[in-house]
Symmetry: C2
Subunit: 189 residues, 2 copies
């Protein structure tokens, strides 16, 4: 009645546990923000002990960093109309599948210095990229307003509980935002 082979090797077990902790951390950070998410809560959600989390990630800070690093932003370019459509497509995408890492950073940026830096830097990169794609003297202001609009939609949906922005079909929202984006991506003729 012996169990000659363990289900998972030690390395596999380690990877699985680490992944479970990272998933729980991302979810809880996105739900409650950095400060209100305790290591004990993350450990509980991942069904391990808090000490193990520290042992694997060294500190809460480092865990947050690991749990919130997302992929690079998709570049935009082309004619102003094309740029506008690409941004609208990004909005539609974020309306459907919600980027947990971004939400975690957004929710934590007001209480955690590291998240704040990450958010500021990420937003700045996005703005710079937008600015390059807009042919106008005041491209930087326009890019900032576009970014502000995207952020405002995300904040309203997730933090201010604008249910109408959750229930309305993405296409309808996109259609309403299209004139805004078009006017912001193209200087008046």
């Amino acid at each position: 009645m012996s169990e000659p082979r363990p289900r998972l090797s030690r390395a596999e077990q380690r990877r699985a546990t680490e992944a479970r902790i990272l998933a729980a951390a991302g979810r809880l950070f996105a739900e409650s923000g950095y400060d209100q998410t305790t290591i004990r809560a993350i450990a509980g959600a991942a069904e391990v002990d808090g000490g193990l989390v520290m042992h694997y990630f060294g500190s809460k800070e480092e865990l947050f960093h690991r749990a919130t690093q997302a992929g690079p932003v998709r570049p935009v370019g082309g004619t102003p109309e094309e740029v506008a459509e690409q941004i609208l497509a990004q909005i539609a995408d974020s309306l459907v599948n919600e980027p947990i890492a971004s939400l975690a950073v957004l929710r934590s940026m007001l209480t955690h210095a590291g998240a704040s830096e990450a958010a500021i830097e990420g937003a700045a990169r996005y703005r710079a990229q937008l600015s390059d794609a807009i042919p106008a003297d005041d491209a930087d202001v326009r890019a900032a307003l576009i970014s502000a609009t995207l952020i405002g939609v995300a904040v309203s949906r997730h933090f201010l509980k604008f249910d109408v922005l959750r229930d309305t079909p993405p296409e309808q929202i996109i259609d309403l935002l299209r004139p805004c984006l078009r006017s912001l991506t193209r200087a008046d003729d």
Copy 2:
């Protein structure tokens, strides 16, 4: 050489101290948010003892409530163009003199349940009022997007350090936002 009359009566002293605490609380809550603002810090900024703050306001919760209650929102109405202009004027106003109470609520809403409720309720009221002023079937979606834009601008300016939104003259920003607001306040003909 006696000082027969005190500079301030006891009641005046009391009011002055309370006002000093409320002002310090509002400023610190707006700067650092509910959680990261300690009663000891507020007391220090107001040059009193932490125990006195508790004695006057009962709890941190109650102090926050007292420090962040702002005046009622200004109503909007008229033709879609007029509504758009009124909203633009509100944005311009908030760009110049920053409403501390609103900022405190905005910064605290992610960490404090009371602030979250206040923000959600305040935003809902504003949306409802906007919605009434917009003659369109999807007025509620349009109102939500307008609110989201205003919030996005505030968040970008204050939390994401969009310097360009601080340095650019309000009129220029308003001019760029005008087409957005006009398209959102008026259904396509």
